[in-house]
């Protein structure tokens, strides 16, 4: 096998966080080079460096054994490195050929766009990919799988030789995914090198040639896919490290707090179900965890309970009373609260202080609470800061001046100020350093002991194992397995999450 791209001793340090710790990564020509690791292992950072979005703190890149300097996305492009992001970057309002040639338009002698040439070149690209997509279709009218093909065509048009694909199959249906795999095979036959990031281990086994594993910002190993199996990958990804377990068998589990019956949710613009007949309950004093891959419907399930998603079928009961279509503020006052997955987008108001963020959810019943009492507010916030161990010198500081872990604690504090019965946490440890993760787990345990019902969603196996009393495994919108006690193992979680 011929090495085309090599990363040696790459370090990337962000303020307070080491994202990559002398990582090595070999990319072989015309192969599917798979990169795996848990969330936060450093995959995305490495890809950002290869595609010129970020610059490494130290370390070197080699392209065909020659040293390679990438300072911008343009540099990467000039060296034939292209990337297809997990969230597709396209213009829904423009046509296929306009998208493919955006900022790279083909001009004729009058300096106007040569539409015919663009269309014919697009047809050629589609022929090469063996896909039947009309160059004049608007992007928004295509299915996600086809939109992805357009992104690939766009990369090919730029003469990309090394194509990075970041979780390309996460939003695809099974049929669409198999089309994608055909395209990938076709590309490698034509000499294009693929770097493939995925959490879906089965498809890695199916299409990968070489696998590289990252864990905790470090390079772990590289191996030929033909020589390994899925349990091997899991072991390399998760490692021996574990969190101090906070679950104990003596947890006092009480009454049902929330019960969901036959929840169905359709995918937008599709007849497929994102959630397909989901029923479960959670009890007070219990930490219930949903484990599943991205796109398994975990987040949507929590959003249904919170009242953010309203067009679903099925019913939800809070302490045996049916929850009708009530507003979010009513649900909060009834004791349901969600710590969202997207901390910046849904959790925080960036321009407000720590204090204002902490107290934003507090629902008041008294009219006198219309007026803010700064002394009361201050003492409430200081109590929360103490209780959760938030590191902040002054609660009037802007929320954005805090570290990720402390910001997350503020979101949790905001949720706790509502006096909840059910606390839902969606990936609460995302973008949080290891120490703060462990603290968040202890907080969860402490709250469960106080009688809260906690629902915890995570895609990291070690976390789930460390905190959950009971785990429901989700795959493709269905609960595939319920696990408790000794059944809770890495292997069983991985096995059932593959669907």
């Amino acid at each position: 096998m011929e090495k085309i791209l090599e990363a040696k001793n790459i370090n990337k340090v962000y303020p307070g966080v080491v994202a990559l710790d002398s990582v090595n990564f070999n990319v072989y020509k015309a192969k599917v080079n798979v990169l795996v690791g848990e969330n936060g292992a450093g995959k995305s950072t490495l890809m950002k460096i290869l595609s010129g979005v970020e610059k490494q703190t130290s370390g070197e890149l080699f392209l065909n054994n020659k040293i390679l300097e990438i300072n911008s996305t343009k540099d990467a492009e000039e060296n034939s490195i292209g990337i297809i992001h997990q969230e597709l970057n396209f213009f829904p309002n423009l046509s296929v050929h306009e998208n493919i040639f955006i900022a790279n338009e083909i001009l004729n002698s009058h300096k106007t766009i040569n539409v015919n040439k663009q269309i014919s070149l697009t047809k050629e690209l589609m022929l090469k990919l063996k896909q039947d997509i009309n160059p004049n279709s608007r992007l928004e009218s295509l299915r996600i799988g086809q939109q992805q093909i357009v992104e690939i065509a766009k990369a090919l048009q730029k003469k990309t030789q090394i194509l990075i694909m970041d979780e390309p199959s996460s939003a695809l249906s099974k049929n669409e995914a198999s089309v994608l795999f055909d395209v990938i095979k076709e590309l490698t036959n034509q000499g294009v090198t693929i770097i493939y990031i995925s959490h879906k281990l089965e498809e890695i086994m199916q299409i990968g040639d070489v696998i590289t594993v990252l864990r905790d910002s470090k390079f772990i190993c590289e191996e030929q896919i033909s020589k390994i199996d899925i349990p091997w990958i899991t072991e390399q990804m998760v490692g021996k490290r574990s969190f101090e377990s906070v679950n104990d068998s003596q947890a006092k589990i009480g009454n049902k707090v929330i019960e969901a019956k036959s929840i169905y949710l359709k995918k937008s613009k599709s007849e497929e179900f994102l959630l397909d007949n989901i029923s479960f309950n959670s009890k007070s004093g219990e930490i219930l965890s949903f484990y599943g891959l991205m796109g398994s419907g975990r987040t949507e399930l929590l959003e249904i309970i919170m009242g953010l998603i309203k067009d679903f079928d099925g019913s939800i009961y809070l302490e045996n009373n049916k929850l009708s279509q009530t507003s979010i503020s009513k649900r909060i006052s009834k004791g349901i609260v969600l710590v969202p997955e997207d901390r910046q987008g849904q959790g925080l108001v960036q321009c407000l202080s720590v204090l204002s963020n902490t107290l934003l959810s507090k629902i008041s019943k008294k009219i006198s609470d219309f007026f803010l009492n700064s002394n009361q507010e201050r003492s409430a916030v200081n109590k929360a800061i103490d209780y959760l161990g938030i590191k902040v010198s002054n609660s009037d500081n802007l929320i954005t001046s805090l570290s990720g872990g402390n910001q997350q604690k503020v979101v949790i504090a905001k949720a706790l100020e509502t006096n909840p019965k059910l606390l839902m946490l969606d990936e609460p440890t995302r973008g949080v350093d290891i120490g703060a993760k462990q603290e968040i787990f202890y907080i969860m345990k402490k709250l469960a002991e106080k009688g809260l019902s906690i629902i915890f969603v995570s895609s990291e196996i070690k976390e789930v194992l460390a905190v959950a009393d009971r785990v429901l495994v989700l795959a493709k919108g269905k609960i595939t397995k319920e696990l408790t006690g000794s059944e809770l193992t890495e292997d069983s979680l991985v096995k059932h999450s593959q669907g």
Partner: protein, 335 residues
Amino acid sequence: MKGMTIKAALFKLRAFIALIFIFSFFAFTADAFLSSTNLIILTKHVAINAILAIGMTFVILTSGIDLSVGSIVGLCGMIAGLLIDKGLVIEFLNVVIYFEIWVIVIISVIVGFIFGCINGFIITRFSVAPFIATLGMLYVARGFALLINDGATFPNLIGKEELNNTGFPLIGSGTFLSLPYTIWVMFILALIAVFLTTRTKFGRHMYAIGGNTKAANLSGVNVNGVTLLTYGLSGFCAGVVGVIVTSQLISSHPATGTTWELNAIAAVVLGGTSLMGGRGSIGGTIIGAFVIGVLSNGMILEGVSSFWQKVIMGSIIVLAVMIDQLQTKFIEKDD
């Protein structure tokens, strides 16, 4: 201001410093500028814009915009004029009701509030962009103002003794502690607005909505309710201005208030409130209104041509926002 560097503090107070600078400049160069008559006239002018700008600040804090306030000023003025001059005509009962002045004032202001609420309702209930919804209201309210008296004005609104509706001009011309009522109204509304924005839930929710609507919604903030009310309050302020201006002129013209929404937006922006929402203050807005007022008053005294006045005013507004952008970078670096 605790823990802030002097540089950062100076930056934060930049609008105020600019105001002092402009004020001193005219105080030294224009003779009549510091006379108490001139200062009172100046403040009276500022008050009109400042009251509109207070309502506008609420709206802009939630990342909205209200283009209809100028038209609502005209409409509310016409309603006050109508009620004084012709009374409330109920045709099918064949009666005409003449109200006392204080009732007329309240009705006019409530009309402003209701028109503002209609803006808010359309924006929140039907997800119409605030720019569009209030642009529509700009035309609709102006149309109603013109319809009320078929495009004509109501002159000489002094009321009639026998109808018990005299005394309307006093609102615009009366004084308390030798300051015109207009200035007192601005002062009181500003105080209430400062209180509302800094000391109440409603105020904090405005900042939260402007800062991150999704997070506010998920936190249980009544996003639609608060947003609707901000437009209602903006309409209310326009109603107040409508009454005051009509009283000052002792007549109501259907074209009163044309383009005043732009002056109000300018004051808000000069005061450092971000059009993206979530950042800004009432204090800043008042300062912004004074910057505009002092500049135009001073330039008139200096004999600057009115054409140049526009060029200068426009440049200063853009310059202020350019400095704001610097500040955003500056603060981000500081953290």
